[in-house]
Structure formats: structure tokens, C-alpha cells
């Protein structure tokens, strides 16, 4: 499985907050994703009802996951394809390597797949002497930079065009060293040209899957570039890698969920390409792959069923939660330290790599609730982060200062008179420290907070005092 730096979340965050280049890139989240999403859903009166429906479809599927997976398998086979059930990352990697060996593959093309990141497939295949090329532009850029993705649908969101140009000059040999690569268009044209050569030389094409359709044994990819299509069409062998919960019952069910996917992700009504692939090329077909394989990966998901984390299996990886998350917006994806960043990652990562490893992530939340508000599948992300915090506390994984702090607070909080007295004094002291500015730049024992931002000063009265005044004055107000 992909190596995580999640235990170093705090150090990662400090680095990210001081990284000016990253901060500039994150500033584009609003116009790039949030504004577009809003415009798209305002254009569709049924959007909220479609969210309910999408949630219900997935819930029904998860409640019958065994039956739908078996039907999917049966229909893939009936169409001449192969299904490989893989319990964990290692098994999935081995199966892909074996498919490559059995088909005498030298080169592997990749469409964008988060599951392939999850199982760290590229490094593994390269060790088997296979040439691996990512074909999605964003993935290609980070492959050249030897970096993991920092966003699940915009993997190179942290990279500036000047940095892309540097990578291209370094990698694309034999071109005029003085060529202009200043504009995104020039970069794209060069990438398109380079990638064409790879497309025509590919043996195995690996894609992810946004959906698996039980009714027909179909895998579906949703893309804008067309790279996934070329990857799976020009290669001799198409391998679709998907986790178990990607299955839906019917073509209609996939269509219903597609109506909320692109709108939530990029704010498009529909992505440029939605591709339904079933089996290998048919008799008489002039193009298309000769073999079709589906990797069905579990990697911890079956253990989430029937638990308080089952709802997470509804996730369709649209990235709306991270696009709207104040924490993601401040630190970016790499700080999270593993494949899935943002709120969905904070819930999913502890399930897949353990709360010991990823316990910091559910704590990286302001509980503003925005993630749940925008989730097209209505996943209660904040609630599930709280479940992880509880587990972390129960396992005594939270730091002793935190546990001591909570205990101290509990001591006062269970003695109302004492609590009122202490908080009353504290808020007056803090208000004095702010000196009328309403904020405090430096606070003893709270450097973790004030290093990066001001502490908002209390207005001189506690909530309880204000409440009491408000209640007393109630009779006067008409």
C-alpha cells in the first residue's frame, strides 16, 4: 500500500501554511470549482431531490452488495471479460503484474485512477521493468515531478505553469530548448503530442472506474480529456481497477448518480466523456482491446459495511468536500499525508490504513459542516469524523496534553458556579489583552493557534452572561 506521512500531519501543515506557491494555487479553488458548482446546481431545480435519490440508490446497493457483485461478475464473464477479486493492495498489484506478464507487455498506459494510487501501482510495475506512463495531464505532470496527487480530481492543482514547463523541458528531449512554454496552451499541445506516441505503443491500458454496472457487467469512466478512452482502446489489454463499492445495479442507476457527479465536481452539467466499457472487442470490431479485466479491490471496505462508517462507501469521489473545506483550502492535499485528502480522506483513510496511522486527520476539522452540505451523496462526514475521534480517544492515541486539557475542562464544566466564575474572569482578561482590537496576536500556551492567525478576543462578557441579559430583557422587546 502507498506509504503515508499522515502521522506527521502537524509538521506537514506548518510547511504547507508557509509555502507561498501552494497558497497561491489554493486560492484558485473558489473560481475553479466552488463558483462553477453553484452555477450548475442553480440551473437544475431537481438537484436536491437527485441527491436524495443518489443516496438511496447507493444505500440499496450496499445493503445487497453481495448479490450485485456476483451479478456484475457473471455479466463480465458472459461478455468475455475476467474479474479478479483482490483482498488487499499486494494481491491487486500481483494480479496486474501477472496480466502484464501473461500478455508479454512492455509498456503500461494509465488513465487516472485513485485506486491505483491507493495500491501504489506505478512504483511496483516499474520495478517489474515495465514502462508506466500516466496519460491524464495532471497525473502526467505529477508523475514527472515524482509527487503524489494533491487533489482527487485535480491531481496537479498545487503546480504552477512555470513548474510544468520546467518538467517538460527536462523530460521531453530532442525539442528546441528555446521553445516557448509560457502559456497553458503551449504546454497542453506539447503534452498532447508526446502522449500520442505513447498511446500508439501501449500494451496494457489501466483505467479506474467511476461505476461498475451489475446489470451489464460494464465499467464506466468519467473524463474530460479523452485520455482514458485512448488508453483503454489503443492498448491490447484493458484493465479496470475498482473498489467493491463502485457497483450500482443498472444503467439507469448509474445515469441518476451521474447527474450529481460532474455538477458537484467541476460544475459541469456532464463531463465531456462518459464511457461505458463492456468486455473485450467484439467479433468484427476493427479496434478496441483484445482482453478486458476488472480488478475488484476490497482493501478494508468490507469491514466498513455494517459499521458506523458504512455511509462512507457511498462516496463517488467528486471532491466537492475538499473544494469547500476550510482546512483543505488552507493546507492543500499533500499535508494529509496519504492518497485521499480533505474531509472524505479524513474519514476514509483511518478505515483503510488504521486510526493509529491516520488519527490526526479526523481532528483536522473545524466542524463547519460545509462538506456534508455539499456532498452529493449526503454522507455525514462530520459525524463520522467524530466517531473516529471517539475511537482515537478510546484507544488512548490522543496526546496526553489533550487528554489532560479535556479532563481539566470537564472538572470545571461539571461545577456550574465555578465554571461561570472562571470563564468570566478569563474572558475579561483576554478582552484586555486584545486592547480594543478585538484580536490577540500572541497568546501564552496557544502558540499553535497564534503562530498562523490571530485569536479572536472575547467581547468582555461570556455567552452565559449575554444569555442571562437577553432573557431578562425579553419582556421589554415587542
Amino acid at each position: 500500500m502507498s506509504v503515508s506521512t499522515s502521522p506527521n500531519f502537524k509538521e506537514n501543515v506548518h510547511g504547507a501554511l508557509r509555502d507561498e506557491s501552494l497558497q497561491r494555487a489554493l486560492g484558485r479553488l473558489k473560481t475553479g470549482f466552488r463558483d462553477k458548482r453553484l452555477a450548475a446546481i442553480e440551473n437544475l431545480p431537481e438537484f436536491e431531490a437527485l441527491r436524495d435519490q443518489a443516496r438511496d440508490i447507493k444505500n440499496h446497493t450496499l445493503e445487497n452488495l453481495d448479490h450485485y457483485l456476483l451479478t456484475f461478475e457473471e455479466n463480465v464473464k458472459a461478455n468475455g471479460g475476467h474479474v479478479h477479486w483482490c483482498a488487499d493492495a499486494e494481491e491487486a498489484r500481483q494480479v496486474v503484474a501477472k496480466i502484464c506478464r501473461d500478455t508479454n507487455a512492455k509498456s503500461v498506459l494509465k488513465g487516472k485512477s485513485m485506486i491505483s494510487e491507493e495500491i501504489a501501482l506505478n512504483d511496483f510495475l516499474e520495478k517489474q521493468d515495465l514502462k508506466v506512463v500516466e496519460t491524464d495531464l495532471g497525473e502526467y505532470i505529477i508523475q514527472l515531478r515524482h509527487e503524489p496527487p494533491s487533489h482527487i480530481i485535480a491531481p496537479a492543482i498545487h503546480v504552477h505553469k512555470e513548474e510544468v514547463a520546467d518538467s517538460f523541458r527536462e523530460t521531453h528531449k530532442g525539442r528546441d530548448p528555446n521553445r516557448s512554454l509560457d502559456e497553458p496552451r503551449e504546454l497542453l499541445d506539447e503534452a498532447r503530442e508526446v502522449m500520442r506516441e505513447h498511446f500508439f505503443a501501449a500494451d496494457v491500458g489501466i483505467t479506474g472506474a467511476n461505476f461498475l454496472i451489475a446489470e451489464t457487467g460494464t465499467s464506466v469512466i468519467v473524463t474530460n480529456e479523452g485520455n482514458g478512452d485512448l488508453t483503454q482502446t489503443l492498448s491490447r489489454v484493458h484493465v479496470a481497477i475498482a473498489s467493491l463499492e463502485k457497483v450500482v445495479p443498472t444503467l439507469e442507476d448509474a445515469s441518476s448518480i451521474l447527474r450529481v457527479l460532474a455538477r458537484s465536481a467541476t460544475g459541469q452539467e456532464m463531463s465531456s466523456y462518459t464511457t461505458f466499457s463492456t468486455g473485450p472487442r467484439r467479433e468484427g470490431d476493427l479496434d478496441g482491446p483484445e482482453e478486458y479485466h476488472v480488478i475488484l479491490l476490497d482493501n478494508g471496505r468490507s469491514n466498513m459495511l455494517g459499521t458506523e462508517f458504512q455511509d462512507m462507501l457511498r462516496c463517488i469521489r467528486c471532491a466537492a468536500c475538499m473544494n469547500h473545506c476550510p482546512v483543505y483550502g488552507a493546507v492543500g492535499g499533500h499535508a494529509y499525508g496519504w492518497v485521499y485528502p480533505g474531509p472524505m480522506g479524513s474519514v476514509l483513510s483511518p478505515s483503510l490504513i488504521g486510526v493509529d496511522e491516520a488519527g490526526h486527520l479526523p481532528n483536522a476539522s473545524t466542524f463547519c459542516g460545509k462538506c456534508e452540505e455539499v456532498c452529493p451523496m449526503r454522507i455525514p462526514l462530520p459525524k463520522m469524523m467524530r466517531h473516529w475521534r471517539e475511537r482515537e480517544f478510546e484507544k488512548h492515541l490522543s496526546p496526553s496534553s489533550f487528554r489532560y486539557g479535556i479532563k481539566t475542562w470537564a472538572f470545571f464544566a461539571s461545577k456550574p458556579r465555578l465554571y461561570r466564575a472562571v470563564t468570566g474572569i478569563a474572558s475579561k482578561v483576554l478582552a484586555k489583552m486584545a486592547g480594543g482590537k478585538g484580536r490577540i496576536a500572541k497568546l501564552p500556551l496557544a502558540g499553535g493557534w497564534t503562530d498562523m492567525r490571530d485569536f479572536p478576543a472575547p467581547e468582555g462578557k461570556t455567552f452565559k452572561e449575554l444569555w442571562a441579559e437577553k432573557q431578562a430583557g425579553k419582556g421589554d422587546v415587542k
Binding site: 431537481e46 452488495l65 463492456t278
Partner: protein, 234 residues
């Protein structure tokens, strides 16, 4: 390929799922599962946007397709298609060489009315323009429905810089659900072509600084020739 370890994992995974769901291996599928698979139906919520008259659907399709950077023109008969293709290529200063699908619906058009050099087959690196038929158009989002097959090779949809698609107005529907019903009617339930593709505008990417660029790896231009064949179908 089905290795021993693979079948062990299959059993283990299914075992864990069944345990979580409180089921055992022999349990037959509940009726709502078998019915859903045996006779798939549209889900309750389908946007009303495209539940309009056929003429309005054609107009909506044009509006939606144009909004995602496709271009659309209308001709009144099949015989006009080659001239429209030639006009479009000349207007955009594109090569006068075209690769069509082997499907007679496009390869059999009166191409000799034009000066275009036309061949039929799969797309190769040298093909800059393709002309393909379509299975249907969906008004809801201005999406083209393209199916692969012996007469409709898939590479024509993706490799050429310019993709020209012929869509008959009699093949215009409102929603995706109507497309699936048509496909089942034509192919039989559960039968899919190797690839069934929804195309909504030309290829694009926002991967460099979130700046939208057309023509990432697929076509830079998508031109749709609508053929008004309503009169014939009435």
C-alpha cells in the same frame, strides 16, 4: 485467468460482506434486487428540463451542446451532409481529407458532390478529421450517444483533431433513460457494445492552473450535423 489465491480472496471478501449484512452464502437475492435487474426502470427523479415537445428537445440539444463548445448546424436531407462537412472544413481552414465510419449511413453519402478525399475505416495517427454516425442525441445536456461496432470503430471518436457527428432529429430524445430503453430494444436486455460513449462537447482539461483548454487528448473540435428527418419518420 483465475488463480487459486483469487478464488480464496473471492470467498473471503464475499464472506465478510455477507457477515456484515447478516446473510449466509445460500441466501437468494431479495425480490427488489432481482426485479431491479430483470426489468430496469427509470428512477423517480428525472429532470423535467427535457420532458418537452420533440421540436423543443432539438432546440434544447442545440443550446446545451453549444454551451459546451460544440458547434451545430442543421441540414434537411442526408444528401446535404457532405456539402455541410466540406463547408465546415473550409470555414475553419482544415484539411479536405476525411475518414468516415464504414457504416453506410456516413460512408455511403454522396461525397463525390464535394472535393473532399474520403476513406472509411479506423482512425490512425494521420487522420485529422472523422465523420461518424450517432446512436442518439440527449437534449438534457446536449450529449451525443455513440456506440462501437464493426461499422463504427471507436478510435474515430477520439483520435482525430476534428470530430464531425451526424445526428438525425428522429434519434433525438430527452433523457439518458430513453437511450437505455432504445438500446435494450435494439440489442436485447443486458447486451452492450464493447464501448458506449456519451460525448458532451470536445475534449478539455483544466489541469494547468485550472485554466480550461479544449483539445486535451481527444478532439479539439466537435461539430454536430443535425439532419431534420422528421418528415420521413411521420
Amino acid at each position: 485467468m483465475s488463480s487459486a489465491s483469487n478464488s480464496t480472496s473471492r470467498d473471503a471478501i464475499l464472506g465478510r460482506i455477507r457477515k456484515s449484512l447478516g446473510r449466509t452464502a445460500g441466501d437468494s437475492a431479495p425480490r427488489d434486487v432481482t426485479e431491479r435487474l430483470a426489468s430496469p426502470k427509470p428512477n423517480a427523479v428525472v429532470p423535467k428540463r427535457a420532458q418537452i415537445t420533440h421540436d423543443q428537445q432539438v432546440a434544447l440539444f442545440e443550446k446545451m451542446a453549444t454551451s459546451v463548445n460544440a458547434t451545430v448546424s442543421m441540414v434537411v436531407s442526408d444528401d446535404d451532409i457532405p456539402r455541410e462537412v466540406a463547408r465546415f472544413l473550409a470555414e475553419h481552414n482544415l484539411p479536405a481529407r476525411v475518414k468516415t465510419s464504414p457504416d453506410a449511413a456516413v460512408s455511403g453519402l454522396p461525397w463525390s458532390d464535394t472535393a473532399l478525399e474520403v476513406t472509411a475505416g479506423i482512425a490512425g495517427p494521420e487522420d485529422a478529421v472523422s465523420v461518424t454516425p450517432s446512436f442518439a442525441g440527449v437534449a438534457e445536456t446536449g450529449s451525443l450517444m455513440l456506440r462501437s461496432g464493426a461499422d463504427t470503430p471507436y478510435t474515430l471518436n477520439m483520435l482525430p483533431d476534428t470530430h464531425i457527428v451526424v445526428l438525425k432529429t428522429s434519434d433525438m430524445v430527452g433523457t439518458y433513460e430513453e437511450v437505455w430503453a432504445r438500446l435494450r430494444e435494439k440489442e436485447g436486455h443486458g447486451n452492450m457494445p464493447r464501448t458506449f460513449l456519451w460525448v458532451t462537447g470536445p475534449s478539455r482539461t483544466g489541469d494547468i492552473e485550472q485554466t480550461m483548454q479544449l483539445g486535451a487528448h481527444g478532439p479539439r473540435r466537435l461539430h454536430i450535423v443535425l439532419v431534420d428527418d422528421k418528415q420521413k419518420t411521420k
